[in-house]
């Protein structure tokens, strides 16, 4: 670690080091019309919308499979008698989710439980990647790819695309269930006729629409912002040589809290928003 660190220090400046770590392994269409991986952040930006961050996507899917695989593995030998260690642990998570859903969501919808569980576990796992030292996974990826300048971002929640993907999914569900429960008129009426009645429609829209889209922001940007900032601090700590070890430890310990809290918050906000979507009286 220390050895490679010196190499990094001599090969690139501190800001280059940080920027390199903030870049993604983007696959898309180059400016000259060929398809391939971007070799710099500028190149990645030039690829436009139809490019994909292979690193975030890969780790995201891997962690999702890990989460579902772990649960399926546990279910395959689960018992309603005395549970073993793993089963006990997973049951605690499921019961926590179940309790929160029961206390916060008053409608009737079988989707909410699995939705909340998936969000909590998946985001928790993604956030936990934060606790792995910042250079380990990128270095491993560079070794596998044989390219010492490969961009690789190990924490999917520091990618706005991933958190926005979650938020859009939840947003679609909010809109779908709002319309399903209240009807299209009822759903739109909530924006137009609330809180000041039908004579103040513009004012109502002005008040209600930002609140509606704030849900999206509070889901996507809060999670992204927290982990992007946390990651940058990890990177800066990674620049200070041997003294990074105690600092890294301190920041990691603090991040254990953030990791759990942010996953929990995302789950709770989702449940709350879904509850609002199912509530007929505003």
């Amino acid at each position: 670690m220390a050895n490679s660190h010196e190499v990094v220090e001599t090969a690139q400046t501190a800001s280059e080091y940080v920027q390199h770590h903030l870049g993604f392994l983007t696959y898309g269409k180059h400016a000259d019309g060929t398809w391939g991986f971007a070799h710099s952040t500028e190149e990645a930006a030039e690829m436009g919308f139809w490019a994909i961050n292979v690193d975030s996507m890969m780790i995201s899917v891997l962690l999702g499979v890990l989460f579902l695989g772990l649960f399926r593995f546990c279910i395959s030998k689960a018992t309603s008698g005395t549970p073993g260690g793993l089963q006990n642990f997973l049951e605690i998570i499921v019961e926590m989710v179940q309790t929160n859903v029961k206390n916060t969501f008053f409608g009737k919808n079988d989707l909410i439980g699995p939705l909340a569980l998936t969000i909590f576990c998946w985001i928790f796992l993604m956030n936990t990647m934060d606790l792995i030292p910042v250079d380990v996974i990128p270095m491993f990826a560079q070794w596998v790819a044989g390219d010492p300048h490969l961009y690789f971002k190990a924490v999917p929640t520091t990618d706005l695309n991933i958190t926005a993907g979650f938020a859009i999914g939840v947003f679609i569900l909010i809109i779908f269930y709002s319309i399903k429960v209240k009807g299209l008129g009822g759903f739109l009426g909530e924006f137009a006729f609330h809180p000041f009645g039908k004579w103040a429609i513009p004012l109502n829209l002005l008040l209600e629409l930002p609140g509606f889209f704030a849900k999206f922001v509070s889901l996507a940007l809060r999670l992204y912002g927290n982990f992007f900032a946390g990651e940058v601090i990890f990177l800066v700590i990674g620049l200070v040589g041997y003294w990074q070890l105690p600092m890294h430890f301190g920041w990691s310990v603090f991040h254990i809290l953030v990791v759990t809290l942010q996953a929990y918050l995302f789950m709770m906000l989702t449940i709350v928003y879904m509850n609002q979507a199912h509530q007929t009286t505003h």
Binding site: G28, S80, L90, G165, I168
Partner: protein, 156 residues
Amino acid sequence: MNLNATIIGQLIAFAVFVMFCMKYVWPPITAILEERQKKIAEGLEAAERAQRDLNLAQNKAADELRAAKQQGAELIEQANKRANQIIDEAKDKARVEGQRLIAAAQAEIEMETQRAREALRAQVAAIAVAGAEKILGHAIDQAANEELMNKLAAEL
């Protein structure tokens, strides 16, 4: 930071994972949890029932013990009474027997005395005659003093 198709990829992955979770993860786990809750509730109920049965049995046992003690005490009392009765009877019998023995002995003594007195009376006459003979130096005519002798003997 640029948004790109990753957002769509993540959205699809999210949808797939949530559906998988909803179909294959959530139902079995909640079923297991419910089953365990039911089992625990049943177990607690059974324990409560057993406790109630135990209390009943303990009460019954205590009652029976008390009854047995009472019965035992009664038996002992009865036995004591019977024993006293037997002792009293024995005492009475012994007293009666003793008195009978005493009476028999007294009767015998009486008879013996009578007999001795008869014998003595028979001999006194002879002794008196012999004494008088010695005093007088010769034989007294027995026939002449018969009456006198008998009178003497009767006075003894």
